[in-house]
Amino acid sequence: MNKENIIDMKNIVKNFFIGTPNEVHIIKDIDLRVKKGEFVSIIGASGSGKSTLMNIIGALDRPTSGTYTLDGIPIEDMADNELSDVRNKKIGFVFQTFNLIPRNSALKNVELPMLYAGIDKKTRIDRAKYLLELVGIGDRIHFMPNELSGGQKQRVAIARALANDPSIILADEPTGALDSQTGHLVVDLFHKIHKQEGKTIVLITHNKELASETQRIITLRDGQIVNQKCNTAGFKRYQAGVDKHSVAESEVEEPILQSDEISTGFETGNDLETGNDFETEGENQCL
């Protein structure tokens, strides 16, 4: 292993108790490793355990059993306050519904994680401005969330996720509430962050098209990983497409991807879904 694992999960199990004896096994013995700088997508249908796995990865929830080491720190048995600190410093959340704090300007929203981390005001503002510039809305830092469009809100949310320079960006259906064109612009932004900032990104989605543009695609079904597939080719194709367009000039009208490239992505996803090309141990070769 030449690259360290940011996420290292072993035998993760999550059960819910809906009154004995009805124990529901949501996550069944998952092993998952994500390397530093990797751009991974987790796909699966509703009820596949995606959200639960995301909550565990995001330190919002604790596994029933198993070990989870995030950036070298075992966090499976941490107390609530410690988990808060892990979320604050190690994880940058991007939600489907943006979840910006209303009545707080874009700048204040990006400042918030840094405020919780106890960073002084000047540093906060400087970094928040830099990040908002990075996501392409440096001209709207004092706008309130209700004055921003969906795509702009998600950009603020991404800037906010980057605030404390986290180990991973955890994006839960980040394009789910956006039209496809705006959604592509947001995905482009994730690729830009991945490339420029070297961020590890975990994208949770049921959109195979989005997944087809990531480096590795993990398919979840009934609480288990049924397929892990390196997607180097698709990823590179996407990158080649992205590089033609600057993300900063994001208000372009034309779709960034050509239709044939998208369909290729779809095929890749379909292959994964069938489980024909099962290569769980192939993850190390993805980068």
Binding site: N81, I101, R103, N104, Y116
Partner: protein
């Protein structure tokens, strides 16, 4: 640092929901303003009452002869008495000898005895300059019992009384009426024109004249009738009655005036045991003041209870609105937790918000209360009195209400499960 951010956030939140914020604060505003208003009116009433009473001499014991069977209500100053139909005969009143005997009997507790013999209204005139006066014969003890504050010269002395010297202590008002500002009035002779006599007196002292807030309305300060103190022996020269209907006793320091008053009453009862129509009565101002104060305190307690109920209702209103706010902002709370806010921070955020609502309500209440108090004082024609400790206590108390009633909603917010909160629609 967090607190400052929270305060700014809370204020922004209140601004965005002005009507709701105001309605939430209403209970606090009413509670605090009624406390402030009542306390300031009560204080100004008490203060003005006390000033008046102290001018009469609050620690004095007044002994007066009154008709038997008259209502024993603690009475008032002697000048209010005797306006009834009956007039006591000379033998019913207290003679110089009786007073001397009385003084000897209580020598260990009496500091001075003030004697008053009213002569009546007169006018002091010097050419076109004049001053209205009320001629009163007094002894040296009246300086204490009458609470006379000299600005220059001296008061009537025992010697003046004994040798019936034609000297006078006049008011600062009279001096300003009759003399130029740079003239020293001490030693000057002035003529007092009574109803059927003209007397010349030498000024030996000047006292500071203070208009009584309970006094009758007068046309101008120049025409004010001020007291003109002459030796009691001089006053009695022209009078048929030589004896006294009342006298005022100042007790020595550390004497229990209430007990002393009772003892004097016993003494007077003995003295008048054989008198069928008249009796000697003793009273002191302290009991009158304490009656008044008790009355005001009772009102204050009543208002405090109303205010407390209002504040309780207001506090519950704040709690209610905070619970609504927590529910409305469930997703925000979830987001904040996902971004790394500890539960304690979420709790503090909501407590600060509740405290801000209550403190702003409290401040509005204080301002409103001061205005109401000023209006109330104006209606009662007393000087408004603003009690700074009460204002500080009010603001602190509204803060406490915020913490108390904000705690439960804040805990509810802090204990939300971030996953559930993020999923909340």
């Amino acid at each position: 640092m967090f607190i400052k951010e929270n305060i700014l956030l809370a204020i922004a939140g209140l601004k965005s929901n002005k009507m709701r914020s105001l309605l939430t604060m209403l209970g606090i505003i009413i509670g605090i303003s009624s406390v402030i208003a009542i306390v300031s009116v009560g204080n100004s009433l008490t203060a003005s009452f006390k000033t008046t009473m102290e001018n009469f001499g609050a620690s004095n014991i007044i002994i007066y002869v009154r008709e038997k069977g008259a209502p024993s209500d603690g009475g008032g100053p002697p000048s209010f008495i005797g306006s009834g139909a009956a007039t006591p005969s000379e033998s019913d009143l207290l003679s110089d000898d009786q007073i001397l005997a009385f003084e000897e009997h209580f020598a260990d507790r009496i500091k001075t005895i003030g004697l008053v013999h009213n002569v009546g209204a007169a006018k002091v005139q010097d050419g076109h300059l004049y001053a209205n006066v009320n001629v009163i014969g007094t002894n040296e003890g009246y300086k204490d019992t009458g609470n006379i504050k000299l600005t220059s010269g001296r008061y009537i002395t025992e010697k003046d009384v004994k040798s019936s010297r034609k000297v006078v202590v006049v008011s600062s008002q009279l001096v300003s009426n009759l003399f130029a500002p740079n003239v020293d009035p001490i030693g000057k002779e002035i003529k007092a024109y009574g109803t059927d006599s003209i007397d010349t007196y030498m000024i030996v002292g000047v006292y500071k004249y203070e208009a009584s807030s309970f006094g009758p309305a007068i046309a101008s300060a120049k025409d004010t009738r001020t007291d003109f103190y002459i030796p009691v022996s001089v006053a009695k020269e022209t009078s048929v009655n030589k004896n006294y209907q009342s006298l005022t006793v100042t007790s020595k320091i550390d004497v229990d005036t209430t007990k002393f008053t009772a003892d004097i009453q016993t003494y007077m009862d003995k003295l008048y045991a054989n008198n069928v129509k008249w009796e000697g009565s003793a009273m002191n101002m302290e009991s009158t003041i304490s009656t008044m104060t008790t009355f005001l305190n009772t009102i204050s307690v009543g208002v405090a209870v109303i205010a407390a109920i209002s504040l309780l209702v207001g506090g519950i209103g704040v709690m209610n609105i905070m619970l609504v706010s927590v529910t409305e902002r469930t997703r925000e709370i979830g987001t904040r937790k996902a971004l790394g806010a500890r539960s304690s921070y979420i709790k503090m955020q909501f407590i600060v918000e509740a405290v801000i609502i209550c403190v702003i309500g409290g401040i509005i209440g204080v301002i409103l209360g001061i205005i109401l108090g000023a209006v109330g004082s104006a209606i009662l024609k007393t000087a408004p009195s603003i009690s700074v400790p009460i204002i500080i206590i009010s603001v602190l108390f509204s803060m406490a209400i915020g913490i108390f009633f904000g705690y439960y909603p804040a805990s509810k917010a802090a204990n939300l499960d971030p996953i559930e909160a993020l999923r909340y629609e």
